[in-house]
Symmetry: C2
Subunit: 423 residues, 2 copies
């Protein structure tokens, strides 16, 4: 792994796929087709892209039961434990509507309301991760979203993977459609005969799904468009190089474009981790992917001291950050930008990916500067409440009219005046 001595700025090599003109045109065409032909477009496009000939879009309850039966009991038990943890962590995020009252009769407040409906996109093939379904569905359920819809491209035999259906069953999701790609996003945003539109679409997908989400944004809300995954480990000389190497590789195995970086003031640790990465890499099933990721997007930055290492982390604003230093908790307050912060030697990133409870849908590409992990707030919205009494308006009406007239909005001022006159 390449070791770089830094004194000034650092940066992650980030590779964001914004789509080619052909891909953009294809997505526009698909959205138009779904708007024009409805269900028929979904059948046609599913046959074209997924090689599946369907007679029905919606998954039957029977199919879910069969898939659930097929699952290994121990795996189901593990999944249930994870769901309990994720639900518990998200339950703690729930917010109450609130109000404040004044003696003059004024009532002001914020009403928190769940979204009516949400669509969760589940990618096809090997990317159909049960953990990802859980991480998208649970926050919506905790928020109180009544209608949660899942869409996923069918396999060529017209089925969805048993693990997807079993996970949905465990979560209590009952409205599932066999449709993927840009056509699924279009159906969720604008509706067809079978699929009622939703208010928000979440979940990862390929470039067509990402472009379609961007295209329908505004008509519905979307979650972040995720880039390749990233980890930054901040460690000092007392850290275990084997742990660090294993964690860097667990990021690298995701994707050739995933980024795994160590920032450390210790030259010795840098060298140890570099060797250890190469050693552990040898026996990995996904060696090819991980090797390519480490080569192209991996780096070890050696800073002059811990302070500069922390500044480097804030510049990188990573999706995942591990703190493997002498007093890791004491550093948390100095981290300004990170999606998730894993503190100490036993908080390996997979702890958060699968099990601990916090969401694994995290801001990538440096957007941790201004974005948050997927959370319950993402599935609610606020409405302001303003209730003025006659007394409150008498007291403040003159000031309000004055401000309206300052901005040249006479009708605004008159709406107040007419009430002050009591006519």
């Amino acid at each position: 792994m390449k070791i770089i001595q830094v004194e000034g700025e650092v940066s992650l090599k980030r590779d964001i796929d914004t789509g080619t003109a052909e891909q953009l045109a294809a997505v526009e065409r698909i959205i138009r087709q779904v708007n024009e032909e409805g269900d028929q477009a979904l059948f046609t496009l599913t046959e074209q892209f997924d090689r599946a000939v369907l007679s029905k879009l919606r998954v039957e309850r029977e199919e879910m039961l069969i898939a659930h039966e097929q699952m290994d009991d121990e795996v189901l038990e593990a999944l249930r434990e994870a769901i309990v943890n994720v639900r518990d962590f998200h339950d703690r995020q729930k917010r109450q509507s609130w109000m404040t009252t004044k003696a003059d009769g004024t009532i002001l407040g914020q009403k928190i309301t769940p979204l009516d409906s949400v669509g969760v996109y589940v990618p096809g093939g090997k990317a159909a991760y049960p953990s990802s379904i859980m991480m998208n569905v649970v926050p919506a359920q905790v928020a109180g979203v009544k209608r949660i819809v899942m869409v996923s491209p069918p396999q060529a035999d017209g089925t969805l993977p048993a693990s997807v259906l079993a996970t949905a069953y465990e979560l209590g999701v009952e409205e599932i459609y066999k449709v993927g790609g840009a056509q699924a996003i279009a159906a969720l945003a604008f509706g067809t005969e079978t699929i009622q539109p939703v208010d928000k679409i979440t979940g990862p997908g390929n470039i067509y799904v990402a472009l379609a989400k961007r295209a329908v944004f505004g008509a519905v809300d979307i979650d972040m468009i995720a880039g390749p995954s990233e980890i930054v480990v901040l460690a000092d000389e007392q850290a275990n190089p084997r742990y660090i190497a294993a964690d860097l590789l667990s990021q690298a195995e995701h994707d050739e474009r995933a980024s795994a970086v160590l920032v450390t003031p210790s030259q010795r640790l840098a060298e140890q981790v570099s060797k250890e990465v190469m050693k552990q890499l040898e026996t990995l099933p996904k060696k090819g992917i991980a090797e390519s990721s480490i080569r192209d997007y991996g780096a070890i930055y050696v800073t002059r001291n811990v302070d500069e290492a922390i500044e480097a982390v804030n510049e990188l604003a990573p999706e995942h950050l591990e703190l493997l230093t002498e007093e890791p908790m004491a550093l948390v307050g100095r981290i300004r930008h990170a999606g998730a912060i894993f503190v100490g030697p036993y908080s390996s990133e997979p702890v958060g990916d699968y099990f601990a409870g916090p969401n694994h849908v995290l801001p990538t590409n440096g957007t941790a500067r201004f974005s948050s992990p997927l959370n319950v707030d993402d599935f609610t919205k606020k409405s302001s409440i303003i209730s003025y009494s006659q007394q409150a308006l008498q007291l403040n009406g003159g000031t309000i009219s004055k401000l309206a007239r300052l901005e040249g909005l006479e009708a605004h001022a008159r709406a107040i005046d007419i009430r002050l006159e009591g006519k």
Copy 2:
């Protein structure tokens, strides 16, 4: 005003400007020019679009003091009172970082961190509303954003309006640049020699500003792209038609494309309001605009009963909603979608536009289905905290590895295993 009997669905006529191909191309060109030429592009484009020849982009402290001196004392006092109210309401939205601990040593939490820096766009000319500056700046200040930058296009003489500078001074904003349009957005997103980039851009603007915000989204965060303003009044037969007419007109005077709608089960009220609107319209300074808005985007929907009126409101998902019914507070819980809810006869919309405290930056175009008023959360982000003890990992590591292997991610499983082995 047109009165429409409804039994089924209702909808607002909404007119969203998504930009022409020429406008899109112009915005792309401007962004490229700012990226290539930096400050020089800002000077050139400001001369071209605003007819102002500047020698310096940043507003001097002296200019702010002079502008502040020019302001009417009573107006300043009114502004200060409004700022106190807005600050108070937003203070109540502040959230604390939190954590939860378990007996096995697990610590999980959410760290709330303010954004580092925010740019507020202030439109030029008559649209430079002091209230809008206040509504954008205060939530960022309350959130704890350290660097708040304002940009606004200069007048031909190279100055900014006194009311803009005086409002900034009252709010304590000190970094202000004389630059507007797409070039200002590009500078805020990517930086120039003089203007350091920010993490988020908020504030209203014309179509070029809106397109530029959309174009830079991802590199930085943006607030909602606002459409024309809307009000829906839900009233029953006991409501005062004069109040309703005045409130509808205060919306209509904003913009020919603004939408003002009454929903009522009372045919009598519908007729009274219709007449009253026409009468009050006659003496309005902005009669032309208001008349055109009422004609093209105004409507009175008469429903069969209050329940259907409430359903209609939820379908419309208005930016502003006024409840002028017998027991308005009792209806609040049945309103699922609205940006701000004004309760009772004395809560005229301008109360919220200028003074009460809740934000006047609200979701338009039906996006109240999934969006919120501008609020303190918009200027913070969350980071998850995950700290596992050795004991917690011993307890749960097996389950975590199992889930990782279920998804075929061996390196993830090994990152756990290596710690369980204690090597």
